[in-house]
Amino acid sequence: MSTRQTSWNKDKPLYLDYQATTPTDPRVVEKMLPYFSEKFGNPHSRTHHYGWEAEDAVEVARAQIASLIGASPKEIIFTSGATESNNLALKGVGRFYKDRKNHIITCVTEHKCVLDSCRHLEMEGFDVTYLPVQQNGLINLSDLAAAMTDQTALVSIMAVNNEIGVIQPIAEIGKMCRQRKIFFHTDGAQAVGKIPINVDDMNIDLMSISGHKLYAPMGIGVLYVRRRPRVRLVAMINGGGQERGMRSGTLPTPLCVGMGEACAIAEKEMAAETERLKMLRDRFHDGINGRLSEVYLNGDLEHRIPGNLNLSFAYVEGEGLMMGVNDLAVSSGSACTSASLEPSYVLRALGVEEELAHTSLRIGLGRFTTEQEVDYAVEKICFEVERLRQMSPLWEMAQDGIDIKSIEWADH
């Protein structure tokens, strides 16, 4: 950790939303900057120095990304982000193989862009199975096995959930898919750079990666597309033929360079960072549990990335809690849907009761989070929860031993 440069200043909200986006690592920024100005060439210009220089940089980045996930650089397709990658994987593969197989399996807690793509494919005539999850947020492998048919073209199960940070049994899923000759796509946006991923060992055929979730900038992503056995897909953006025809458009050299450097850093530092984040996460969790009762962790603790906690605080009012901790940049769910007041569909899929789903906080820790920040956030959250509970008649009743669920409320 050479660049823990952010000593947090209390005039700014404390950033604990690393699953929404990560700050771009200053080391990554430094590598990117020359490619905006002095090395600005179009990597597809094959007629002069500037073009070749940019192309070389893009190819270095491609190799860095491939190395992190055990792939060949030729299997790395640059996109504008994980949303595009997920769309391309599902619709691209689905449409290519549609005449032979028309069944897709995914799960109810996937990112919205996977679910929306699946809904769209249903309108195009595909059958989609949405697997449920267990209370810990993980799919049941026997459900998966039961859902697979000889019509199944693709299984798409995310590696790590964006709200609750749970890690799905990717290697097992990959093995099951390979045995049945079904393509396996995984949304790796929250996983790559955080946990070890090897596309060969895990039998992953397609994987979406996001730049801005691994300390690279926004606006860049990757779709890993396996070459042996070959996965084919119908492109969504045409004209120019870049990225082996799978994704046309001028490659943004600085963003590609940033993505490559971020992967190289992650590969080098993942082990140490995991230990440090686990320590901070435990410190956070223990700090909260040491002071508050009736706090529930959503999602499995063991099969979970170290940088995520998703906690529900009983007997507080959700909006009041968010207002109370407004100097902490935390979220109640995924950023894409955070403007809506609907409780998270991920938490509901886990069977979390509506009241508890409304009072959940997603706490995302990351590379620049410090012990001091964790301590401050714990103190702040405990203080607010205690304050809100003191005002809550339900909390008072619960303290008196009344089972709130047994109360029959009068109709108004």
Binding site: V29, S117, L251
Partner: protein
């Protein structure tokens, strides 16, 4: 490579200092613009400022701007998302428009779209159509009569998309004056970064006649038309570049004078130089011209050795050795087209770049003349 003369601004431009500053500032923000907390809202403000800056460059309303990952994506979104079954595009469009399976509208020898042909094609079939004609050609710099295309298309009930990637920042551009329904612009052609562009839809909020179905599905960003976490640093840089490019449009006078000087100098050396589109309206920064008798590949290698970067046409296809599709569409013979190179200037171009090109060109020309002479000596009767 400070001495290198970069004359390929139509492929990409260096990022303007103001844009680089905006990019750096946005990179330091580190929040998702969709997050509701303080840092998220700060990111959202940067996004909306940039939207207004980009809108201002083309005289559109900020609410008309849909940010994309670039010109290619914006063109794809316009053509596939417009919900029109019939597409008509000019023969000199960028591959991202041309490869859409559309019917092709022929162009004349200057590369200008044939308006009578367009009128006839639209009259022959009343399937709801979208016509796509670029404002400025990326290879020749020729300005297309888009306002007249709109007049004809709208008369037939067709919508019009215009790829203005090479026009923005180089000619005054007001969406309302052009009358187009959809317009594409790109960040890295105006001194912003690559990886960002915009599709601008005239009156997006109130339009019922356009069915811009999203081609990607997800988080609902950009009003659901283009989901995915916004490329905030890219968009911030795009906005800053749009603002500077709009204000610096007078720089076209300087660049136009440089371009004219270059063309005059080459013509003085060899009156047989062909300059494509020179007799019609062109932007100030582009010259697509031949060195008679010397094929493009030889020229490109010689220019690169002399520290000059030019190209044979669009960057996407410059790896392939074949004549430009634009020149073929203009009816230019292959032996002429195969001796063409494109010189394109931009905001960072200086007189010294032009001088370097002229002297390298003169040297190549002289070499060609000498070898032609010696061939004559060896085979006088040939």
């Amino acid at each position: 490579m400070n001495e290198y003369a970069y004359l390929d601004h139509n492929a990409t431009t260096p990022v303007r200092p103001e844009a680089l500053q905006a990019i750096s500032a946005a990179l330091a923000l580190g929040a998702n613009p969709s997050s509701v907390h303080g840092p998220g809202r700060a990111a959202r403000r940067v996004l909306e400022t940039a939207r207004a800056q980009v809108a201002a460059l083309v005289g559109a309303a900020p609410s008309d701007v849909i940010f994309t990952s670039g010109g290619t994506e914006a063109n794809n979104l316009a053509l596939r998302g417009c919900g029109r079954q019939r597409l008509l595009v000019s023969a000199v469009e960028h591959p991202s428009v041309l490869d859409s399976g559309a019917q092709i509208i022929a162009v004349d020898g200057h590369g200008i779209v044939d308006l009578e042909r367009l009128d006839m094609m639209l009259a022959a079939d009343n399937t709801p159509a979208l016509v796509s004609v670029m404002l400025v050609n990326n290879e020749t710099g020729v300005i297309e009569p888009v306002a007249r295309v709109v007049e004809i298309a709208h008369r037939h009930g067709a919508q019009v998309h215009c790829d203005a990637v090479q026009a923005a920042g180089k000619i005054g551009l007001r969406m309302a004056d052009l009358g187009v329904d959809l317009l594409t612009i790109s960040g890295h052609k105006i001194g912003g970064p690559a990886g960002v562009g915009a599709l601008i839809v005239n009156g997006l909020e109130d339009r019922r006649d356009l069915d811009l179905t999203a081609s990607a599905f997800g988080g609902g960003q950009e009003r659901g038309i283009r989901p995915g976490t916004e490329n905030l640093p890219g968009i911030a840089g795009f906005g800053a570049a749009a603002q500077v490019a709009g204000a610096a449009i007078s720089d076209m006078v300087r660049l136009g004078a440089m371009r004219d000087k270059l063309e005059a100098a080459l013509r003085a050396i060899d009156p047989d130089v062909v300059i494509f589109g020179e007799r019609v309206e062109r932007i100030a920064t582009t010259s697509f011209l031949t060195l008679p008798g010397t094929d493009s590949t030889t020229q490109l290698m010689a220019f690169d050795l002399a520290g000059i970067g030019v190209s044979t046409g669009s960057a996407c296809s410059s790896g392939k050795v074949r004549a430009s599709g634009v020149l073929t569409a203009m009816g230019i013979a292959d032996d002429v087209a195969s001796t063409a190179v494109r010189v394109s200037l931009g905001w960072s171009s200086q007189d010294i770049d032009i001088k370097a090109f002229i002297s390298a060109w003169a040297e190549l020309h002289e070499r060609r003349r000498k070898s032609a002479e010696s061939e004559k000596l060896i085979r006088p009767a040939a």
